[in-house]
Symmetry: C2
Subunit: 193 residues, 2 copies
């Protein structure tokens, strides 16, 4: 199975290099030779795994969004009350950004790119819709303030964008206590009480 392992290694090396460069320099600011050099593969090898630069960015975007969404949706406390659900949402959101800062920067740098295909857009919408649904149910129970769900999702998700830039530049450290204090502050904004 050396063959398969190598194949996987090459493909993963390309995706890893692409993530690093796209998150630092953006899609158009990154060249295929840049990626092949960092991945330590020949320029032509990339095209054995991805039909084009666009196909590569879409494969990466879709994979990252799917992993992100799974992290939010897995172990979600479906039966529990709103505050507990919010706790799970907030902590898994912050947990993902702390553990995958580069991926989160990549997402927010590219989510409006015209090179993204339908599948990529759908994967982004899936995560956004999941958060919206949680907020929506909280509102139906009367636990979440009666505001446009889009605003509330932005209130929860938005702060992570500047935070992820600080994390990348090592100008921020997200300790457990820290994140919990921010959860409480955000809950104060979102709660109906």
């Amino acid at each position: 199975m050396t063959e398969t392992i190598k194949k996987v290694n090459k493909k993963e090396a390309i995706l890893k290099a692409a993530l690093q460069l796209f998150s630092q320099r953006s899609f158009y600011g990154t060249t295929m030779p840049d990626i092949s050099t960092l991945a330590d593969v020949g320029a032509g090898t990339i095209y054995r795994y991805f039909t084009s630069k666009e196909a590569l960015v879409n494969a990466l975007f879709f994979r990252i969004m799917t992993e992100f969404d799974q992290r939010l949706e897995s172990d979600f406390p479906n039966g529990m009350d709103t505050r507990i659900q919010f706790h799970h949402l907030f902590q898994s959101l912050w947990g993902y950004v702390v553990d995958n800062t580069q991926a989160f920067v990549f997402i927010n740098l590219h989510d409006e790119g015209k090179y993204l295909d339908e599948r990529s857009h759908a994967s982004f919408d899936k995560l956004w819709n999941f958060i919206t649904t949680i907020i929506d149910k909280g509102q139906q129970r009367g636990d979440v303030v009666d505001l446009d769900p889009k605003s509330i999702v932005s209130l929860v998700y938005g702060p992570l964008i500047p935070i992820s830039k600080l994390l990348i530049n090592h100008k921020y450290t997200a300790s457990k206590d820290f994140v919990y204090a921010l959860e409480e502050a955000t809950w104060r904004a979102v709660s109906s009480k």
Copy 2:
């Protein structure tokens, strides 16, 4: 003075076109021919006003950050209490984003670009530092929750990033009442009480 007027018009046409294209397609995704076509000037004309593509993006970034900062700092209620200062901050922040959505998208798409010079970085830091100072003083008075100022600034500034993307796509309308309700929600997060 026809000459001067024409000069100003060309320069402004170039900056206007550059803002539109950079905010839609990013710096590297926009070509100089793209800009000259949209501005309705010859390709070489851009180089009469800006020495390079980098000089153009820096001129634009600096101008936009300076205008944004002036909007926040002008008429700021320096003597007043924290809640009133927060009201002014929040409303001028949202007011700017609603009136200059394209500019705000441009800022957040390019603020980490390696093509930005020292002057551009300083203009970004100036705005960020202004907000930080307001939060800091509120904390000293005991009115603002005792959290890292960077987190609090992100809590106030961050939500505007997804909101600006929704505004660009005409999927969000920011009415007066709406923004005021969000101000109150955000104040609940930020307030020490």
